[in-house]
């Protein structure tokens, strides 16, 4: 089976200059956990997830700690989110993201999703343009 046969054919995406505030609205409305970032020709140039936004609101040394108990309350995160809400998504997006081609095998997509522990994987055509996404649920639905 090819990726094109199992992918969700949805092109919801945003440009690199879209603000974090707008991105949160789109993620929330569309009910998706992440979003491909595309250029003027719809070529995928990045990827941003809810996790990337949360990480941007946490102190830089957060990863080295085993607990969040040192953070007094959510106000700190809320203030930081307010500060970055007008920043462009390009500032926080992952630029070294992985994509698959619509002609790749489904197994290839499954391996990337499992190894990288990601929920969605952008699918591109031969020109690098977004044509859909493979979601974990697509794989499960396909297997069932």
């Amino acid at each position: 089976m090819k990726v094109r046969d199992i992918m969700t054919k949805d092109l919801t995406s945003c440009e690199k200059d879209v603000s974090i505030r707008e991105l949160i609205f789109i993620l929330d409305s569309a009910g998706v956990p992440n979003m491909p970032i595309v250029d003027e020709e719809d070529k995928v140039i990045g990827f941003i997830s809810e996790k990337d936004i949360i990480r941007a609101c946490l102190p830089g040394y957060f990863d080295m700690l085993h607990t969040a108990s040192f953070i007094p309350d959510m106000n700190q995160i809320s203030k930081k989110l307010e500060q970055i809400s007008n920043d462009p998504v390009s500032k926080y997006m992952q630029k070294d993201m992985v994509v698959v081609s619509e002609d790749d095998d489904d197994l290839q997509a499954a391996e990337i999703i499992i190894r990288k522990n990601i929920k969605n994987l952008p699918v591109v055509d031969k020109y690098g343009r977004l044509v859909g996404q493979v979601k974990r649920i697509d794989l499960l639905r396909h297997l069932v």
């Binding site: 969700t8 054919k9 949805d10 092109l11 919801t12 995406s13 440009e15 707008e22 609205f25 789109i26 409305s29 569309a30 009910g31 595309v38 003027e40 020709e41 719809d42 343009r129 044509v131 859909g132």
Partner: protein, 318 residues
Amino acid sequence: MIITVTPNPAVDKIYWVDQLKMARETQDEFLTRARRSDTSAGGKGVNMSIFLSRLGVENVAMGFVGGHVGHVVVRDLRDEGVTTNFVWVNGETRTNVIVLEHGHEYVPIMINEPGPAISTEEVARFLRRYKRMLNRATWVILAGSLPPGVDGDMYRVLASMAREAGARVVISAERDALARGLLAAPYIIKPDIRVTPVVDNHPIGTRSEIIDAGKKIVADGTGIVIVSHEVTGDIAITADGVWEIHAPAKTTEFKNFVGADDVLLAGIVHMLNKGERLEDALRFGMAAGMISAESEAKICSDIDRIEKHMETISINKL
């Protein structure tokens, strides 16, 4: 790639009832029980996308969606194999109610909501996404009403952008949205005359009015004007001539003609996209529309029935 744009999509909620109880008339009966019901994504462009997808034609559906109903629209389209590319908005996508009373299916009761108000930021977000999609477009179908908040000039702007990108433009709309769209000289127009039988201030109630108005519109740059004359007949006007298309169908045999007009136009686009002659495209479109109207399902894409029905469609060049 064919792109359909439905600025004001909907969920069509269809109820089949044995008898509609009108409390105003019966005084005592308020409740009408539906024999069955159906819920599906709707709106002119959405219907066309579904029909095209069932014929195996890759297409992308665009427009504005919002809220719970918006998710139903998107999910339904994806299940039909249509690629979705909608801009999410703050409001709730509309629900349109259709009641088909047994024995009177050819005169459905239809209640259409106005749709959510769209902000200027949401329109701007759509325009950016639309511009990107035009890189892949060969045909762009602009269809249906404009939701509140969207400028009446929207179809002219979208049609101009599409033409500039080299795509053929089809507009299926009514009143001001269509009249302004004509300024961009689209390839095909099909006026929606359910409410007002007027195109760009030209009345199109009678056969001769349709032909006169069509010729003027074609002279101003539109390629093909297709107008429903009677329920089972259409008139097509181009610079090369005028065609009258007729299906030998009885409207009393219609089971559900919601969406049939959209199937007709999508059928024509499908055939022209394949490089077929206009006459064959008109014949196919009319047959597809009639088969859809004669089926209980909102959109019927039974290609065997359509092709068989094509033999019964008459086309006369006037």
